[in-house]
Symmetry: C2
């Protein structure tokens, strides 16, 4: 029944009052491929290149679910064109939500997925039997020296991954190059003294040539991973970084939020759980339930599931829930989400008088949650 | 009154029932800069780096407008970080819409804007006194030879810019390299025979290293401009292409649509009219009023205005309304939008029996609309 030359995207559609669900679904098949009215599409192209409505059924009042298959030949072998086929033009319409994709093995193999994956990040950090703890150095405006002092305290307390805040770029207060060297030195010093494997992930997000130069600088400085705002750079940045540097990649969801509306967009689990992973993220930050953002607990679990599920030959990736986790609740979250999780704690840690002591409590909480 | 070290973003906010407008606005100032609760932000950072609510006033039932100033030091000199400050994390919240930015000259000078601008594209095409006409070669699935035949017909009919459909990437049916050479040859032949200056803009959208290689190939083949799906690649791709190749850049809005919701996101005129232009687009495609997408006529005019308005030393850019324009209505649209417009006509042209004759009628319509 399944055509090896096609793959299937699943959309929820909410047709307007004057429009049938059939018409809306058919419109997607044309808009996302040939971009022509059906009447002027040559017959052989209609048969081979146009999307095909495989199923269409009502699932709620005014809401339909449709499975649309596209030819692999519409994508070729590029992630950019895959995004374009899945949601490029229809992003400009309304009432269309991409809720799942049945990824064909050929595409997965092409895009490659995580270069390190969960096992790779566990090997880097030396943490094998519990959830990992991460935090961000901040706020912007501090000097590189002060940020490095935070790194030192967090490393001393046993945070496993100390990352730059995603808004630390190349501001005059703490230029990238200086911050990189000072922070990495702080972590290296603690590791040498304590025998640990704390990792510092600098934020390499930047316009392209600069981003690649920063990743190279990070590798030269001894970093084993970096942070990227992957929707700001274009998500294929993850693939390029994976290919070029062999660094672990933690992806931040900045700018993705408009896709996550209930009636139009791409679900967060598909975008952050599948697409970020396919592109090469080894760890994916998302706004945890109960924090400053509105993700439900169920949605968070769905993201976790997609990052960790078997998916052809792709490595698994670590979910990194951030927000809503305090030093006190970290153990609970570790139990809820399971050990293949990175708990990202920011504000609550900074509210502690002593950063290292706060970090120590966090680390202890994840040990007890094993 | 205005601090030269800060710049101002204007948001419409729709606070939840249990939240004051003041709290929502203050939240943005923290979320977009230091990402910490106010209580743990060091005093000197709070005074210098945190956003500042300059004004806050109700503009409709449940809707407030707030002017928030950010320090230039929060951005540094990178477009990626500018996007992050303006809307990165708050994209994940709701009821926040970026409706305007008072761009500081320092940032505009840094980002640079169009490399060719309206005058540059007029010089390329030799069209100085009327609206330009563009079309796309399609559909995907045709061979490079067949697409080149379309190029030939359109060039013969006097289309000024023949671009690849934005979904033509590197599909097996018409691989990029072959398509580039055949299509450019078709246009060059017609120009040589007829003394015209029709331009072929191939779509160079691709993962990064490949995108740059395609732009280089386009330049080598004699193309003077290219098409980019600039939100798919990351919008800073425009700047890199401008710097590296000196090609005219036409930007397509694929994947941007989720930002254009009335209650949350970034207005289309700010994103496509200002940000795309600042990044380096010489011409910006948007879905025209009356077409398959829901842009109002007023919104289209606002995009036109932003692309053409004086903005520090930046070159102006050409609006490229696409959709909803037929061979018959092209003259009317040219009169409505003015001569500094590129009318992009696809489906209606393909519905003509004779593509060259249809293109000729289009060209004639814009001449009569002068």
């Amino acid at each position: 029944m399944s055509d090896p030359n096609r793959f299937t995207a699943i959309y929820e559609i909410r047709p307007c009052a004057d429009e049938s669900a059939e018409a809306r679904a058919r419109d997607i098949t044309l808009e996302q491929t040939v971009e022509l009215p059906a009447a002027v599409v040559p017959e052989e192209i209609a048969a081979t290149m146009v999307g095909r409505v495989e199923t269409l059924e009502p699932i709620d009042t005014g809401v339909w679910q449709t499975r649309i298959s596209y030819p692999l030949a519409a994508v070729g072998d590029e992630l950019t064109q895959l995004l374009n086929v899945l949601f490029g033009n229809i992003s400009l319409k309304h009432g269309i939500r991409l809720v799942d994709v049945e990824w064909p093995e050929a595409l997965l193999a092409t895009f490659g997925g995580p270069g390190c994956g969960i096992s790779g990040i566990r090997a880097l950090t030396g943490v094998h039997d519990r959830a990992l703890v991460a935090t961000a150095i901040k706020p912007m405006g501090l000097s590189a020296r002060d940020l490095a002092a935070h790194c030192h305290a967090f490393a001393l307390g046993g945070v496993d991954i100390v990352k730059d805040d995603h808004g630390l770029a190349n501001q005059p207060s703490a230029p990238f190059d200086e911050r990189l060297l000072r922070c990495q030195a702080a972590v290296t010093d603690v590791n040498a003294a304590e025998g640990g494997s704390v990792q510092y992930f600098p934020n390499v997000t930047a316009p392209w040539p600069t981003m690649m130069a920063r990743a190279e600088a990070a590798r030269s400085a001894g970093c084993r991973g970096v942070l990227v705002n992957a929707w700001v750079t274009g998500v294929d940045a993850l693939s390029a970084l994976r290919e070029e540097f062999g660094l672990a990649l933690m992806a931040h969801p900045a700018l993705t939020g408009t896709y996550f509306r209930p009636d139009h967009g791409i679900t967060a689990d598909v975008l952050l759980g599948d697409i970020f992973r396919m592109a090469g993220a080894d760890a994916v930050i998302y706004p945890n339930h109960g924090g400053r953002f509105g993700f439900s607990r169920a949605l968070c679990e769905r993201i976790n599931d997609r990052l960790r599920r078997p998916l052809a030959g792709l490595r698994t990736a670590l979910p990194v829930p951030g927000g809503g986790i305090s030093v006190d609740s970290a153990g609970d979250w570790a139990r809820r989400y399971g050990r293949d999780t990175v708990l990202l704690i920011g504000g609550s840690l900074y509210a502690q008088q002593d950063l290292a002591a706060g970090a120590r409590r966090l680390n202890e909480a994840t040990r007890q949650a094993r």
